[in-house]
Amino acid sequence: MNKYMERLYNGLIKENPTMVLMLGMCPTLAVSTAAINGVSMGLSTMAVLIFSNLIISILRKRIPNEVRLPAYIVIVASLVTVTQLIIKAYLPAVDKALGQFIPLIVVNCIILGRAEAYANKHEPGLAIMDAIGMGLGFTIALTLAGSLREILGKGTLFGMQVLPESVSPVAIFSLPPGAYLVIALFIIIMNAIGIKTRQRQLVESDGCNGNCAACAMQCDERKEEAK
């Protein structure tokens, strides 16, 4: 396996951002109400991630270390604005379903996390493959969560009836609590079959080593300062 394919494998399976690294929980919980929303959100995030990784990788020797975070945030925010305008212009249905969540891609930990952990240390080609792997991993996880919630909550999948009409769907899965329940279910299954996740980061941080790479990094600086 060459190093480009290794990046894809890494993002899809080994370090799947949602299932293994437990990053980007907010969009996962919020937009997984239906399978199609999961696909749209995953692909929008992937588009932003590919371009942000590419730009940050190209500029990695030019951005001074001290101001790298603000620089990354400006790059990501510009890309998100472009994505938002494109979606508004060409995909009004997606805009209607996800409108509020598109701007929040800026603060998605996956994007700043990959910039900090990968793109600013590697060449553009590898950075793009990393973004595609992570983006696909995120999309697949979101689609899985969305499909499960749609089947259980509405009895449909991508808008088509899959459960027989006689089975009445469990409405709670389409409502906010369903998001927490479905993600809990995924982690229980992964625990039961023995796949290691980094859920410790998710639930056992003391505020300073939260699960977001960007936050954690600022906290490192603070700890050094305190010494």
């Binding site: 604005t81 938002q84 603060v107 927490y180 229980i188 625990n191 998710l202 977001c212």
Partner: protein, 193 residues
């Protein structure tokens, strides 16, 4: 206080709770709720930052972005304003009240990447709230955030004593507790005036 402000308070603190129904800021919700004291401190820091951020974002939106037709710049402007604001608040607290800085210090940078703050600033702009309405909405959303995170921290301190089946330990039981809280909060949507 008029009727629409009361509606905004109830709606943003309880019915559309940022953590339990909008899912903004869930990372810190699940991460920090391990300890009661940390949760309360983070809650206070969020109330502080979100109220100020809503006020500043609303002024910028009404007097700069809208008059010049630059609404599409909202995302960039808001995130930069929030990041700068957190830095300024931090420097100000460090100088003026070291006691508060010591208590809230480590939580302030976390808030920059907390999507709840950006989300509420965007929501205020999208709903066309006036300055006063934005401030009230920011403040009460943050109160809702604090309420939810402190409640979850309380539940988790009890769970720790329980003997759970192995696969449920760690994240799953926390998520299930959050789901049950969320079900309870759905009850508020039946409030009518």
């Amino acid at each position: 206080m008029n009727n629409s402000l009361i509606l905004i308070i109830i709606s943003s603190a309880l019915v559309n709770n940022v953590l339990l129904s909008r899912f903004w800021g869930v990372c810190s919700f699940l991460g920090v709720s391990k300890q009661m004291k940390a949760s309360a401190s983070l809650g206070v820091a969020v109330i502080f930052v979100m109220t100020i951020a809503s006020a500043v974002a609303s002024l910028l939106n009404d007097y700069i972005l809208v008059p010049f037709g630059l609404e599409f710049m909202q995302t960039i402007v808001f995130i930069l304003v929030i990041a700068a604001l957190v830095q300024i608040v931090e420097m100000f607290l460090k100088k003026s009240s070291p006691a508060i800085y010591k208590a809230l210090g480590i939580y302030l940078p976390l808030i920059t990447t907390n999507c709840a703050v950006l989300g509420i600033a965007q929501l205020n702009a999208m709903s066309g709230y006036t300055f006063i309405e934005s401030v009230v909405s920011g403040f009460s959303s943050a109160v809702g955030y604090t309420l939810a995170i402190v409640l979850l921290a309380g539940i988790r301190s009890r769970i720790r004593e329980e003997d759970l089946p192995a696969p449920l330990r760690g994240a799953p039981i926390v998520l299930i507790s959050a789901a049950l809280m969320s079900i309870a909060f759905i009850g508020f949507s039946k409030l009518s005036f």
